[in-house]
Amino acid sequence: MPSERRRIWISRIMLALCGLAAGLSAAILVVLLLYVLVKGIAYVNLEFLTALPRPLGEPGGGMANAFVGSAVMVGLATLWATLLAVGAGIYLAEYGGERTVAVVRLVADVLSGLPSIVIGVFAYTLLVKPLGTFSAVAGAFALGLIMLPIVARTTEESLRLVPHELREAALALGIPRWRATLSVLLPTARAGILTGVMLAVARIAGETAPLLFTALGNRFWPNGLLSPTAALTLNIYQYAISPYDQWHQQAWAAAFFLLLFVLVLNIVARLVAARAMPR
């Protein structure tokens, strides 16, 4: 039996180590964040935002096509995935029987646990191969598939938080159940759903693996939605592993914008959530 003093000291040391672990985790974030932002902003200029990539060796040039490509693909993905996911979430929270809900929920959770590279391979076999071309559509499909289970589950969770009295009150007014769902329950759960969508958008905006062999990347403007399309994340990857300093600098600049976007979205999402449900 260790002496009391020893036990107290062990306790103190272990608690200090735990605190240190928490501090270390947060410090990693701060270091990483500051490094990327500070390093990245040094290489940001107007041309970077507005010009196409220049041929290798020529200084200057930008990533305008990648900004547009990322925006288009993330936008399309958000559109189709949110429409589907909110409906699915309504089913899970309001309509489904116990057993079907359990099945759909498990599948959604498993789907959201799959590596995004697997999703990318799937999008390739489903869309790229039959269509015979890499495309923004295939990229948006892959990104949306990542978003789908996340938003479906957050929608379900948010709807479940709506008090039962609200459903009864709406139905007591004589409106049908679908109407009650759409015009009473959804608006009540709006903040939660919006938070989920924003976090999911932040997620897919940073995804690279699902785009590698769906959107492929492009050094020029894409020729419509059914042609290879540039994306910020693809460019960061490609430029970072290249041996050229000039490309490394552009990778940092692109990372700056990507990180800024993701951070702002995350913070706004949390503000929305906090305003809706003060702890």
Binding site: S11, C18, A22, A152
Partner: protein
């Protein structure tokens, strides 16, 4: 199933007395029910389609190599000889290394946040740690490649000089390799691990702690005897979930692991993982068998992460999805 298999006009004409809710309203409800049911079913359909398509497109490789694919070590697109073992090995080693590094830190951080930190410390710290989960894989890879890799080179040199007789620390200390990949993965799974374990600890009833204190336990003894055992299955679930994420992590690993297709016991060696092999060669697959072999790799990865995720979810079933849901997917 749909409302249309019972036309509204017929219903009204045949049963004018049954006007309780009005047939049109009933139709709207049925229609809506069917619609959202269909949308929910689409999630299941996509998942099924994913499995079917992966199997279908991996078939040429499966027919050619069979299950032996899993333990063959060659990867030669010229002679069309393919085996997955080095990729499976690399995936396992990097993920295990990541868990070895991340679990003590993540669980420790969660213990501090859930049990001892005052609210004004807990909230900002938790926020920062969760924000770490939001950083895109490719950005972490970029940072890993240009900051972390040069930084660990001297560490490797030191280890090589002093412990170089161990196979673990042999080989040239160039930075890029298994060690860097494990570190990057550890950073990436740390936030989920911390967040879920924190949730698990929060779910431990207060009377457990009070009982331990009443018996004269020190704070640390309270944690080890009352809190951790109570939350054990949840913590194990969190670790497995984090493992699932590490196994499928793609970009950050691809950028720092060196992508060498071999099995080398050294932590300094360049290696590859299932995900990074797919990521780095899929675009160059110029023959049907080569492509099928890569899709076979994806299928293996799919199967592994499927099992890991289902097990983890069974263990943390009782937890709110909030902690598990966000930022959980193997990113890239």
């Amino acid at each position: 199933m749909a409302a249309s298999d019972y036309p509204a006009q017929v219903a009204t004409a045949a049963a004018p007395a049954r006007l309780r809710a009005g047939p049109r309203l009933l139709d709207g409800d049925r229609l809506f029910h069917a619609l959202v049911g269909l949308l929910a079913a689409s999630i299941v359909a996509f998942a099924a389609l994913l499995a079917v398509y992966l199997v279908k497109d991996a078939l040429p490789a499966f027919e050619r190599f069979g299950a032996a694919f899993l333990w063959q070590q060659t990867w030669n697109p010229v002679t069309l000889q393919f085996g997955a073992l080095p990729a499976i090995y690399g995936t396992a080693v990097t993920s295990l290394l990541a868990m070895l590094l991340a679990v003590p830190v993540g669980v420790g951080a969660a213990i501090y946040l859930a049990e001892f930190a005052p609210p004004w410390v807990e909230r900002p710290l938790s926020f920062l740690i969760e924000l770490l989960a939001a950083i895109p894989s490719v950005v972490i890879g970029l940072w890993g490649l240009f900051v972390l890799v040069p930084a660990i080179r001297p560490v490797q040199q030191w280890l090589g000089q002093h412990l170089g007789w161990l196979p673990l620390f042999s080989g040239p200390p160039i930075g890029i390799g298994v060690f860097a990949a494990g570190l990057v993965l550890a950073i990436m799974v740390l936030p989920i691990l911390t967040a879920i374990v924190r949730e698990v600890l929060w779910a431990v009833p207060t009377h457990q702690r009070e009982a331990a204190y009443a018996l004269g336990a020190t704070p640390w003894e309270m944690v080890t005897t009352a809190v951790l055992p109570y939350g054990r299955s949840g913590i194990v679930g969190a670790v497995i979930l984090a493992l699932g994420r590490a196994l499928g992590e793609t970009l950050a690993v691809t950028m720092v692991i060196g992508n060498a297709y071999r099995i080398d016991p050294s932590l300094f060696a360049q290696a590859t993982t299932l995900a990074s092999k797919i990521a780095s060669e899929f675009r160059e697959a110029d023959s049907a068998v080569f492509l099928a072999a890569l899709i076979y790799l994806a299928l293996v990865l799919f199967a592994i992460t499927l099992v890991v995720n289902v097990v983890a979810r069974l263990l943390v079933l009782r937890l709110s999805v909030r902690a598990i849901g966000h930022g959980q997917q193997g990113g890239g």
